[in-house]
Subunit: 262 residues, 2 copies
């Protein structure tokens, strides 16, 4: 379902012409935002297989043909080279540039993957009255490497990364119900309670994002995270790849509500 | 949906003729079993309101007219006075008898309430591969008074009673999903994790049923329990009422599957 108004198109136009070069969080709360991974075609088959084998951390919203820059299934007139506010360019696993468009490094063999993002279910949680501390405090969500393993495909393997949101028990139960409706954006939690059971030793020292307090009457609730494919691709040290810059997502024309399974 | 075979009818006939006078657990795993509460009509309005106000502990499957003994919506040829294996008769809040039928104390002003039972969702959990320790060990489920309050109606008020099942986190998440599909038999858990948050000081000393071990890698998961209305009615010390004896339920002709909301 494509939203009637043109907010997604307008935000992509602002990114394209350079007016928007920062975070997209909160700019379009009703619209699906996506993580981006662009790889040479020779790696695309294995990465596609990795996503298929690990749907909770890697829920695919769209995959392009090699060299193609449009995503008509995700939005009107998308140019994947220009329509995100900021990109990261990686060579041999190292970050080499953070440009606002990637036309200068574009190649006809590049395949683009758009992967679902927890922004979609966070809006559903807030709408249902489940508070999210990192949102209230204007921080990035806390993310951790775990000892939960992914299923490998070609050069892609490594641990699952999870995001953590502290919740009272009744909210955690409600959050399982709500996020179960969104299998296309990570779905239900993968764990709750004792962080040590999934290999997290210190909640106050996340591997990505910002630490957030867990109060004595709260449980940490853990979801599979879209950072997993990024970590896996970086660990594979491909000669070349492109991602979005953290928080600077592809704003699509799809509504979050349209992703709900029920 | 009434089951095609006549297992429910056959079990009720065995209770009626005295062949079956004990527990019904496991006798008809696919069929809905119900808790029974029979009250004089003068209290029935308030009790109905209490159930309406507290649907999680008191999910109503059926209510009779005064004096009526059939429940055509729940099964073929039910006589509520004879078709449960064993009853409890209460006077002024005290248990006075445990007969195998209640024809001798029947009155034309009695209203019968059949209330959903967790047997229904337990079968769904087992079918989904979620182990239940009390079932594996052949024990009654552990039940606790909490400091969660019910919403009062007339003389009926008191704390919510909950049942507890220990689970690994991933099973607890799956159990939230599965039991959310069964709002007619208590639905999703009301709490998980720290028992002290709902006023339970000792998990090894349940107020009803049998204690069951919670292993270090498990969370206690708590559901609203059909013992709540029984405890509330007993506390109200009505001059007269009848309940089923613990575990000796009304076996209906409805399938558990037919109660699933999705």
């Amino acid at each position: 379902m494509v939203q009637a108004n043109n907010l997604g198109l307008a935000l992509r136009a602002r990114a394209r012409n350079g007016e928007l070069s920062g975070h997209t969080s909160g700019l379009a709360p009703d619209l699906v935002q996506g993580n981006l991974m662009i790889l040479p075609a020779q790696y695309a088959g294995d990465f596609l297989l990795f996503c298929q084998r690990n749907p909770k951390p890697c829920p695919l919203l769209g995959v392009s043909a090699p060299g193609e820059v449009a995503f008509p299934g995700l939005g009107q007139d998308i140019d994947i080279r220009t329509d995100l506010p900021r990109y990261r360019v990686w060579r041999d696993g190292d970050l080499v540039n953070e440009p606002v468009d990637v036309r200068a490094v574009w190649r006809d063999d590049l395949v683009s993957f758009v992967i679902g993002c927890s922004f979609s279910f966070e809006q559903a949680l807030l709408d249902a009255g489940v508070p999210l501390r990192h949102v209230a405090q204007g921080r990035n969500v806390a993310m951790y490497k775990t000892h939960l393993s992914t299923v490998a495909a070609g050069p892609f393997h490594g641990p699952m990364v999870v995001s953590m949101r502290p919740m009272k028990a009744a909210h955690a139960i409600r959050a399982v119900q709500i996020t179960s409706r969104f299998p296309g954006v990570h779905g239900a939690p993968v764990h709750l309670g004792d962080p040590g059971q999934i290999g997290i030793s210190r909640l106050d020292a996340p591997d990505y994002g910002d630490a957030v307090e867990v109060l004595p009457d709260e449980l940490p609730v853990f979801w599979a995270c879209g950072v997993t494919p990024q970590a896996v691709v970086q660990a594979a040290r491909l000669p070349f790849c492109i991602t979005h810059a953290p928080g600077a997502m592809l704003v699509t024309d799809l509504t979050n509500v349209s992703l709900a399974s029920l």
